[in-house]
Symmetry: C2
Subunit: 212 residues, 2 copies
């Protein structure tokens, strides 16, 4: 199995806080994400700042786009994003319109999506999916379980590059050890640590230990 | 039946363009929406500007929130929004978290939502839903049909205040004449007109003619 990427999600409510978070962990991570909260607060200026600071990294705009895919994707690309996200309940025309404007599209899996839909996304040329535990669901006490791991396995077998996110800690990565995970995404797992640089390095070391 | 509201959706890719659009039609419409494209481009500064210009109007932040409902809603409220939108495939905990932070929440209906889910939203205290034709679906040739009108009727009978949007023209309002529509939302139906002020007045006059 390939070594999973480490992606930092910047879900701060201000650009300056986001830049403070990333300034410490940025050199360590593979992918830098302008989270939805940040995009909605600071707009595409957030993506422009991240692109300015990290010209060589993959930058993701986590727009969770549900409509007007072409325009949103064009705006993300022009701001410097390599990838963007669409929500799974967006229509196929929305996803196709977005895919024309940006390098790669990631489908965010929330709620009651089906594998039949997932096959349609693949058929449309979409290669990435993001499997979540919703932040609010986690706060409501839900957690990773066997059902999640089975769905993940199936998505990977279908051919998706699958990112995993939601309440991940260094210690929880081992839950996924049998799976060819493409990327682990964490926000506060790094940004909320006393030493974000060390926290990012520990995530990387654990990924290396399990998948290396 | 009550007179439906007229809502303008500002889906411009820049704040200055949005302000140009609204400066002409603003005095006529009932509700001003910072569209998703605009929110993602300019962040909550767009909502702050609209609140500054229209202190007495209802302002909607069309975030189509899918996660982190509490934080997104708090940010919208702090920027001056009265209402915000959540996407229908968000989890119930996300919706409930958002509802705690903002006056009213609107569920945006995209993809395969069910009436069973809709009942759960009502039970959670959510009173508004937005029934769409996706912009991209419209571009792909789809249009309003009997199936849409039946779903609309059922949502209204369930107790939702339902907004209708997607490719509306003044002449298409009559399609909905049997229904107690809460709000008609249009973007380019007004902003794309040669005279946006006149276009908004014509929408209002047609609403008055049919529902008055």
């Amino acid at each position: 199995m390939a070594l999973p990427n480490l992606q930092i999600a910047l879900d701060n409510s201000s650009l300056s806080e986001a830049l403070k978070s990333i300034s410490l962990a940025g050199p360590v991570v593979d992918i830098v994400e302008a989270g939805t909260i940040l995009c909605l607060q600071s707009g595409m200026e957030a993506v422009r700042c991240l692109r300015a600071l990290y010209p060589e990294k993959i930058i993701v705009a986590d727009t969770k786009c549900a409509d007007a895919g072409g325009t949103v994707a064009q705006n993300c690309r022009e701001a410097g994003a390599d990838w963007m996200t669409v929500i799974c309940c967006a229509t196929l025309p929305t996803m196709k319109a977005a895919l024309k404007e940006i390098e790669e599209l990631q489908v965010e899996l929330y709620g009651d999506w089906t594998f039949q839909q997932a096959q349609q996304w693949l058929n449309a040329g979409i290669t990435q999916a993001i499997y979540h535990q919703s932040r609010d669901a986690l706060l409501a006490g839900e957690t990773w379980g066997k059902k999640d791991l089975e769905k993940l396995r199936k998505l990977i077998e279908m051919g998706f590059k699958v990112s995993v996110t939601g309440g991940l800690t260094k210690d929880s990565l081992a839950l996924f050890k049998e799976l060819d995970v493409y990327t682990f995404i964490t926000g506060r797992g790094i940004t909320g640590a006393a030493d974000p640089n060390l926290a990012a390095k520990e995530f990387k070391a654990e990924i290396q230990r399990i998948w290396g």
